[in-house]
Point group: D2
C-alpha cells in the first residue's frame, strides 16, 4: 500500500452536536486535508458531517463507515461510503481503519469508539471529550488537545505505522 494509507485519521463525536463543537470538527477536517491526511468517520451527521465538510472544502478524501444498509444515509460530504449493515459494531471499523483518532465531545457511542481504539493501541486525542479514571486512579490515555491545530498535529505525530 501507498504512504497515503498510513495517514488515515478518524474523527469521532456525536451524531448531534453544538454549533461550537461543529466548528471545532470542521476546523479539524480542514487541517487534516491540508496535511494530506484521509478522514475516516462514521458517515452520519453532527461531528462527522462537520469534519467531512471541512475536509472536503480543502480537497481532502473522506470515508464514512455507515451502520445501516444504505449509502444514502451518508452525509453529503462523504466521498467513500462503506455500508456495513452491522449497526454500532461499525464503531470498531471506524477506529481500526485509522492510525490515530481525534474525539470531539460525544456521548456513549463516542466513548465506545475511544475504548475500542485504546484497546487496539491506536492513539486517541481528545477535544472537550471524555476523561477516564479506573478504580479511582486517573487514566490519562486520552491525550488532551486545546484546539483543532493541536489535535491534528498530535494525531499526525503519533502515527507509528507499525
Amino acid at each position: 500500500m501507498s504512504e497515503k494509507k498510513k495517514r488515515f485519521i478518524a474523527v469521532i463525536g456525536g451524531g448531534q452536536c453544538s454549533a461550537k463543537e461543529a466548528k471545532l470538527a470542521e476546523e479539524v477536517g480542514r487541517k487534516l486535508a491540508r496535511q494530506g491526511a484521509t478522514l475516516v468517520c462514521g458517515g452520519l451527521g453532527g461531528i462527522m458531517e462537520a469534519a467531512c465538510k471541512g475536509a472536503s472544502s480543502e480537497g481532502g478524501v473522506t470515508i464514512g463507515i455507515l451502520p445501516g444498509d444504505n449509502y444514502q444515509a451518508a452525509n453529503p460530504y462523504v466521498q467513500i461510503p462503506i455500508v456495513t449493515g452491522i449497526g454500532y459494531a461499525r464503531n470498531i471499523a471506524v477506529v481500526k481503519s485509522a492510525q490515530a483518532v481525534i474525539a470531539i465531545g460525544g456521548s456513549y457511542g463516542t466513548l465506545s469508539e475511544i475504548s475500542h481504539a485504546l484497546q487496539s493501541g491506536i492513539p486517541v486525542i481528545g477535544l472537550n471529550t471524555w476523561s477516564l479514571s479506573r478504580n479511582g486512579q486517573p487514566d490519562n490515555s486520552i491525550i488532551p488537545a486545546q484546539n483543532p491545530t493541536e489535535a491534528v498535529n498530535k494525531a499526525l505525530s503519533l502515527i507509528t505505522n507499525q
Copy 2:
C-alpha cells in the same frame, strides 16, 4: 418468551484479573444463580471464568458469547457457548443480551462494553471499575456498588423489562 429471559445479567471484566477481583466475580456469579438469574458473559477467562464458576456452583445457567471461531475457547463453566466469529464486536452482543450489566475491574474492552450498554439504555453497576467524566463534568451513569451482594441486588432491581 418466558419470565426467565427477563433476568439475563451480563458480568463483564478483564480476561485477566487479580485474585481479589476473581473472588468478587465468583461471588457475583453465585448470588445471581441463587436469585435464578441467567449469567451472560464473553465466555473467556479472568472475570468471565470466575463469574461462570460461581454461577455453576449454585446450579445457574451460564452463557458465553465468544469472539473467535471455536467453542473450545470457552472457559470450562460456560454451558451455552455462542460462537460469533466477529472478534470484539461480540462485546455489543454480550451487553445487549442482558437486561443489566455488572462491571468488575476491567480494561478498555470492559469500558467498550460499559459504553455500548449505556448507549443502549441498559443499566450498568460497577464494582471497582471505571468512572467517567465528560467535558469536565462527572458522568454518574455507572451505578456504584460496594460488594457483590449490593451489585446483584441493584442489577436485579433495575431490570425494567420494557
Copy 3:
C-alpha cells in the same frame, strides 16, 4: 464444557415458510429434543419458530441468535435469546455456534448461512433446500435428507467434536 455443548444443531430456513415446511421444521425440532440436542436458530418466525416449537414441546433447549436490538423480537419458543445488534452478520454466529446444520427450504439468507457453514467446515444437511454447482460441476456438499428423521440422524452422526 460439558458433552452437551457438543450437540448444538442449527436449524435454518426462511422467516416465512409454507405450512408443509413448517411441519418439517417442527418435526426436526421434536426429534432433536428427543435426542438431547440443543437447537440453535436465528430466533425469528417461519422455520425458526416451527423448529423451536417442536423442540420446546419435547422439553428441548432452544437458542435464538437475533439480528436486531431487542429480545422481544424472538419467537415465543426461544428460551435463550441472544441479542446481537449486527443484522444479518448474525447468520455467521448461528452456524458457527452449531456442530451441524439442518437447512429446510429457505431463500438467500438461508443460502448465506449454508455458505458460511461450509466455509467453516460445519456439515450441512438439506431438506427441500438449495443445491449448488460450481463452474458447471455439481457441488455435493449439502447432504440431502428425505425427511426429518433422516436429517436429524445424519446431523447427529456427522458431529465430529473436533
Copy 4:
C-alpha cells in the same frame, strides 16, 4: 454524495485462484477503472488482488474491506483499506458497499457474498462461478457473463441508484 458513489462495483472471488481466473479479474479491474467505476473488494489476494491490480493500472480507485485487525494484510493495490476486525462478517460490507457485484470463480466465501448481495437486492454478475437451484428448480438470479467486458457492461447497466 457525488455521482461517483453510485458506481461502486464489488469484485468477489477466491483468495487463491488459477492464473486464468486472475487474468479475468485483472481485466475486469481494468475495464471498471476505464469506465470510472470504483472497485470494492475484500482486500486480500487471489481474485481481489488481480482485480485491484487491473484497476490501479488504469488509475482507478480501489477499496479493500479487510476481515482482520491490520491494514498491512491488504494487497499492494488497495488504496483505501478498511479494517473491520469482524472476520467473515465483512463479506456483508463488501457487497452492501457496492451497487452491483461481479463474481469470478470462488468457493464458499464467495457464495456467501453472492447470497448476501441477492438478499439485499444487489445484482450479481457471474463469470465461471456458482450456479444455484432451489428445491429442484433453477434459480437464475446470478446473471451470467461470458467475458470481462460483458461482466462490466452488465454490472454498470444494472445499477439502479435507488
